[in-house]
């Protein structure tokens, strides 16, 4: 009797799981499938699941459109932005968590910068970078339009508040007595940070890094406005397949697949570090 119910419940459970999974995974599956389709098999009705796979879309994206160039730009911009965000975000968050700088007001101010829509500041950003790019400092730091520095600054600006906010709670979860104990064992403040605090906050820092990197990788609006060709990222690259002659669906799907792959691999690697349970709960008595 009991067993029968459980079989029913199990079926229902797995049915639901597959339904939800299908809903989320199908678009990606279709994108990957499309990237291997010959041109004639893409926009047909009814949709075709069986066809002779071809690599010509990838050849078009990689060779004719030089898509790896966009990947390289994105990699530079995302990684540098993320590194800056993680380093300064951690330091700021530690300070907020331990010394309550500004009694919460500064922290709120930092978060409040996230409250306006990005598009509200896009024109000022455009004008600022256009002019800064002409100055000596702007030139040496590549801060002009269609240069990597401009996007890096923008992404740091947009991700830092969120990163600080996220990291503060991670640092607050580390008991002060751990740092006290290390101090008594003869470590200086800086050594304590390096050997105790940051290793303990590692899962939080990993989560922050993942979120920041994903944001930078997928950002379109600023990349589209602030770059033309030399510093364009993958999102802008994919958009360039939407030509006046029509949308090149096969190459678009191939380019999109290439763009998604690095993030997917990265997140899979980071997943291990993102398991909070590894650290938290163990700290507590």
């Amino acid at each position: 009797m009991q067993r029968k119910t459980s079989v029913f419940v199990e079926t229902l459970r797995y049915g639901t799981i597959f339904l939800v999974l299908g809903f989320f995974v199908f678009p990606i599956f279709w994108m990957v499938l499309t990237s291997f389709k010959p041109e004639g098999a893409i926009m047909v009705s009814p949709p075709r699941f069986l066809f002779t796979p071809t690599l010509e879309n990838y050849a078009h994206a990689l060779h004719d459109k030089n898509f790896l160039f966009y990947i390289k730009n994105t990699l530079i911009i995302s990684v540098v932005s993320t590194a800056i965000v993680v380093v300064f975000g951690s330091l700021a968050a530690y300070s907020f968590a331990r010394y309550n700088v500004g009694d919460g007001h500064i922290l709120f101010f930092i978060l409040s910068t996230k409250m306006m829509p990005a598009i509200a500041v896009i024109l000022p950003y455009f004008l600022i970078f256009r002019d800064v790019g002409k100055t000596a400092i702007g030139k040496s730091l590549h801060l002009g339009l269609d240069q990597h520095g401009a996007l890096i600054v923008t992404y740091v600006m947009f991700n830092l508040p969120f990163a600080i906010w996220l990291l503060v709670s991670f640092f607050q979860d580390i008991p002060r007595s751990l740092e006290h104990s290390a101090r008594l064992d003869g470590l200086s403040r800086i050594q304590v940070l390096r050997k105790v605090t940051f290793p303990l906050a590692a899962p939080g820092i990993a989560v922050t890094a993942v979120f920041t990197l994903i944001f930078c990788w997928n950002e379109f609006l600023f990349a589209y406005i602030l770059t033309r060709k030399m510093a364009s990222t993958v999102t802008v690259g994919v958009e360039s397949f939407f030509t006046l002659q029509g949308i090149l669906w096969g190459p678009v799907a191939a380019a999109a697949t290439i763009s998604v792959a690095p993030m997917l691999i990265f997140v899979l690697i980071m997943q291990r570090y993102m398991v909070r349970g590894l650290t938290f709960g163990a700290v507590r008595g």
Binding site: P175, S177, S181, R183, L184, S188, V283
Partner: protein, 359 residues
């Protein structure tokens, strides 16, 4: 020698942790800070460790102020009440941490970790992370990490408070033996009267940021300075009777609220109001009801302790605890007489709470 001189410690604007407290800790002694939760015990340890600074007053080592010395230069070792174990390191690495920080050689670190784990009874968990240990095991790791390296002073914040009764008893004995062997200066906090009396060379009784009394366990037990100390030291706690004085046939006597004469009173108690008499449960004997110079009472509750019994007797309005042999035949509700050993009672004037022993 470590000294706190007129130390006042305030957290924020309102919370006062220590009020003008002065205390000397002698080299090589096992000093126990004993008091209820929130009395300021941990604050004293933090001041000695350099983790907090006094609002006013001075912390000295051998006469020289160390207020501005950072914790890493004080050569103090501390076991924290919440363990403070590094959850990203294994138990062995946790124990090795203070040694590695001090630059001890690898082979010696391994040997020391092994030996300390043996003393604490945790050699089988060395490879685990703190998250996978029981509370008692974590506490032992915390204690081990504190005592693994030589230090000028060991600050142990309730290091055996969370162990089960049997282990706590064993650790108490081992800690005492270890302290003698190390000839170390130890400051130990506890909320257990038994631990305080069993471990301390001297005990400081702390209440609401004040030191009520500092002395050897015998001092505190036999000559409590006030009712707080009297009621807080010893298990079962001292019982109190509200009394007044009256002229008797041969000098003043102490009388209870309902007119029963207990014992002769010292001359200094004459004319004082609000007097209290404190008696230990062992200074009382039960006799037939109605005998002269005894207190009439009724048995309310009987507690079995195994080796003895504690009877709670209602005498007038005051509950009084009496120690009895385990085989004493007594039933709740029974009327009894209480005889107080007049040489073993303590008299307090309750506003000032000072001893006025007739001796």
């Amino acid at each position: 020698m470590y000294s706190l001189v007129d130390v006042h410690k305030r957290y924020g604007l309102r919370t006062v942790a220590l009020r003008k407290l002065s205390l000397d800790i002698r080299p090589g002694e096992f000093f126990v800070l004993y008091g209820p939760a929130g009395a300021g015990k941990s604050t004293i340890l933090n001041l000695l460790a350099g983790l907090t600074r006094p609002t006013s007053g001075d912390v000295r080592r051998n006469g020289a102020s160390i207020v501005h010395l950072p914790p890493e230069r004080r050569n103090a070792a501390m076991a924290f009440e919440n363990y403070a174990l590094y959850s990203h390191l294994s138990v062995a690495e946790n124990l090795a941490f203070p040694l590695r920080a001090a630059g001890v050689k690898h082979a010696e670190v391994t040997a020391r970790v092994k030996s300390i784990a043996g003393v604490l009874g945790i050699p089988h968990v060395l490879d685990r992370r703190p998250g996978f240990l029981s509370g008692g095991q974590r506490q032992r790791v915390a204690l081990g990490r504190a005592i693994i390296r030589p230090a000028d002073i060991y600050l142990l914040d309730e290091p055996i408070g969370h162990l089960d009764a049997k282990l706590r008893h064993r650790m108490r004995a081992e800690l005492k033996a270890l302290a003698v062997e190390m000839k170390a200066t130890i400051v130990f906090t506890t909320t257990s009267s038994k631990e305080a009396l069993a471990l301390g060379d001297r005990v400081g009784i702390l209440n609401a940021g004040r030191l009520e009394q500092v002395g050897t366990p015998a001092d505190l037990y036999d000559r409590p300075a006030n009712t707080f100390v009297a009621s807080f030291v010893g298990d079962p706690p001292m019982s109190f009777l509200n009394v007044s004085t009256r002229a008797g046939d041969s000098g003043p006597v102490l009388v209870t609220g309902d007119g029963q004469v207990i014992a002769a009173a010292p001359l200094s108690a004459l004319g004082r109001t609000g007097l209290k008499v404190g008696v230990r449960s062992t200074a009382l004997t039960l006799v037939e009801p109605g005998r002269p110079e005894t207190l009439a009472g009724r048995v309310e509750v009987l507690e079995h302790l195994g080796h003895s019994k504690i009877a709670v007797i209602a005498a007038g309005t005051d509950p009084i605890q009496v120690s009895l042999p385990a085989d004493a035949a007594l039933r709740p509700g029974e009327a009894v007489g209480l005889r107080i050993d007049p040489t073993r009672l303590h008299i307090f004037a309750d506003e000032t709470a000072l001893t006025m022993d007739p001796a």
